[in-house]
Symmetry: C2
Subunit: 196 residues, 2 copies
């Protein structure tokens, strides 16, 4: 039997709030998820989970490198059925479970090099089953920031969050997570994935 | 015999220009050095050279980790005769010789965690013996930026630049550099230094 409180939390409709003030060089994304903080953090740092939700729906994420630990790095190939194909990469300045990830980000496929983004993700436990994620993206210039806004970052972030919520809402999600992590430990599914 | 052009360049008095607009979350430092771009870049990425100029004069820099390559990291202990003792650290998002370094920075000794800085250093060859370095430091907030300004970042940067200029002005600097690099390759002087 599902308790009333749990039922209310499960039915809670979450929204992604974006804050991007004119002339500034940053964007904030704030979103709550109906899951414990540890579970949300795990979805951010487990390769077989991360690749299932990160990015817009029309792109498949192939993790070429994925080592979410302080000093680690990542490199992701984004594949679209419509022929879209680009690579994003960065390094992890800090990964402190289950509270914070600090990383850099750059579109490696952009011919204009030297435009990195600093990303800070803070994971706050609002309750035992409600987690708030605050993402602060800081750009080199407000022009870089506006370029990313025009490229549709808000829609991409919204779809990512919805996909993550669907993944977390799976009633067997905890069992699923444990099975996946165990399986990842036993064997390397994708030879190019670097496990954390 | 020293040519007139070389004499003029050697006597050129360089200054460090700082740009920090009110309410913004960034600081720019622009400085020219009387040396070829490759030489300036090498001083930024060779441990035995970097430790001799980076930081204000009253602090000794001990490189605990120093791996200036894309995906590498650094960790530096700053020691003062007056008992000052703190650690700074970060990761290298991109190191592209001799033109660009993109890294993160954080004062590990600060009890308030999660305040990284994104740093981009661009090395431009103005002439064969004159190099301009533009450092753009982007902070999480303007409050973080102002805190660093109040902590005396301008004086620290100025002293670093003067020390680097002194190192580069050594008439035997190229021979010195080659000797140091060869020696570093032959043996690990400091067991905790990771060579690039």
């Amino acid at each position: 039997m599902v308790s009333l409180r749990k039922k209310v939390e499960m039915e809670r409709k979450n929204v992604t709030k974006m804050i991007a003030k004119p002339g500034q060089q940053e964007v904030l994304f704030i979103r709550e998820f109906n899951a414990p903080r540890e579970e949300v953090f795990r979805a951010w740092t487990t390769p077989s989970l991360y690749s299932r939700w990160a990015g817009p729906r029309h792109l498949k994420s192939c993790l070429k490198t994925f080592s979410p630990r302080t000093g680690g790095s990542y490199r992701i190939l984004h594949l679209g059925a419509d022929g879209i194909n680009f690579i994003t990469r960065g390094v992890y300045h800090e990964v402190t479970p289950p509270e914070r990830i600090v990383a850099t980000f750059e579109n490696e496929s952009d011919p204009d090099k030297g435009h990195p983004v600093l990303e800070v993700f803070n994971f706050d436990a609002i309750s035992a089953r409600l987690t708030r994620v605050t993402a602060r993206l800081v750009f080199l210039t407000s022009t870089d920031r506006d370029g990313m806004l025009n490229a549709g970052i808000e829609q991409g972030m919204l779809e990512s969050h919805e996909r993550l919520e669907e993944l977390l809402a799976n009633s067997h999600v905890e069992d699923y997570l444990i099975n996946v992590i165990d399986r990842d430990k036993r064997r390397q599914i994708h030879p190019r994935i670097v496990n954390p």
